[in-house]
Symmetry: C2
Subunit: 218 residues, 2 copies
DNA sequence: TCGAGCATTATTGTTCAACAACTTTGTTTC
DNA sequence: GAAACAAAGTTGTTGAACAATAATGCTCGA
């Protein structure tokens, strides 16, 4: 692959991992030097990440890590409901992706059991497993374009999570809920599974919005 | 706006209008000179359009206009069904976007009446109006992210249309169908409207795939 | 004549340095 | 304390240069 592609991927990972706080500005010269590339090369990578919604670009003010607002969170969940629920509703339990969903649920359950009270790192791992579950779920639709769109949505949502400093409340309740979605889908069919998933998404949105609201008050 | 933003927009329009044939390579130096910008600036615009799926980037072979395959068309329509049908299903007739749908239908009907047998230019105009209808339809969902995704899908689909040299068969039947979707939605509700829309999309996909299949044989 | 291998050419990838355009900051002044 | 202005810093864009890779054309031998 290209240096640019690798650069964009590396930056993407760092941003998602929270190496830069949401909203913080990224200095071109500083980061270019940090990665040992020219400013021009970095700018091309910035451009790609801006298109994905991870960076925000303001003319003559450079790029900053996106910092989702409440409106963004609402929109992201709206799009999630459309994509995820439809994907699950139209799928068969025999789809190979179901196995990946299984594995993700197991991984999340294991990670949640390891995670002690406030080990942020461990809870982040639970979050990753939860996310893997939903990515696999979207893959049920066998649509590269929907999968890509969903990947971008998930990355943005992760930025929203980064703004909240109570990772446990964000991830713990949903380990069980993911399990419920999967089991319902397998035992009672797509229709019921999709309904369960919708409830999941509504609750998850509520938790995030609640945390955001509390943040703005504090 | 930036020179880069304007550049990307201008390029986007030209590509959608068929200024470059799908699949054709875009020489950096030639196009940079044509627009009177430096190669580096152009490359950043290329990067953005590649992210949108309009350009294809192969390392050391530059960018070419995307040339959707049959698999791409199938995927695009899959995504369209998910986004459009869900959007219509959950909307109210009072939504302001309904008016834009009305206008688009009227514009398409007018353009179709003006278009004589094989006036490719006129039929392209019908296609634009048809597209405006569906863009407005997606806006019923009030989701910037879904709207953006849909915009990209529509642009890609236009490239597929460009590969087919019978614009009439591509656009004419659907003027009436759009009208039917809108009327059904308004008189018989969202459920029926969404069902009509689904039929629309299935038929439209069939027409495009048929044309593609015939292309590969000829 | 044909194909394999090789040299040539053209294009893209990346860097660097410079300057223009603009925003932000800091200072002065009233 | 607010407005106006100057200074400093950052981004936007350019042009040239060279490296890395792909496409092309050529030679040579079978």
């Amino acid at each position: 692959m290209n240096q640019q592609g690798m650069l964009a991927d590396a930056l993407r990972q760092q941003i998602i991992d929270g190496a830069f706080a949401p909203g913080s500005r990224l200095s071109e010269s500083a980061i270019a030097e940090h990665f040992g590339v020219a400013r021009n090369t970095l700018r091309e990578a910035f451009r790609a990440l801006s298109e994905q919604g991870l960076l925000e670009h303001v003319p003559h003010r450079g790029v900053s890590v996106a910092s989702p607002t409440i409106a963004d969170v609402i929109d992201i969940y709206r799009a999630r409901r459309v994509i995820e629920c439809t994907a699950l509703l139209h799928s068969e339990p025999e789809h190979p992706s179901v196995q990946r969903m299984q594995q993700a649920v197991l991984a999340a359950e294991a990670a949640a059991q390891d995670a002690v009270l406030d080990d942020a790192e461990a809870w982040r791992e639970v979050g990753s497993a939860n996310m893997a579950f939903h990515v696999a779920l979207v893959d049920l639709a066998d649509s590269p374009r929907l999968a890509r769109t969903y990947r971008d949505l998930a990355a943005e949502l992760r930025l929203a999570f980064l703004k909240i400093d109570d990772p446990r409340s964000l991830h713990e309740p949903f380990v069980r809920k993911n399990r419920a979605v999967l089991d319902t889908f397998l035992t009672r069919g797509a229709q019921e599974g999709a309904a369960e998933l919708e409830r999941y998404l509504v609750q998850s949105e509520r938790v995030v919005l609640g945390a955001f609201a509390r943040m703005q008050l504090g």
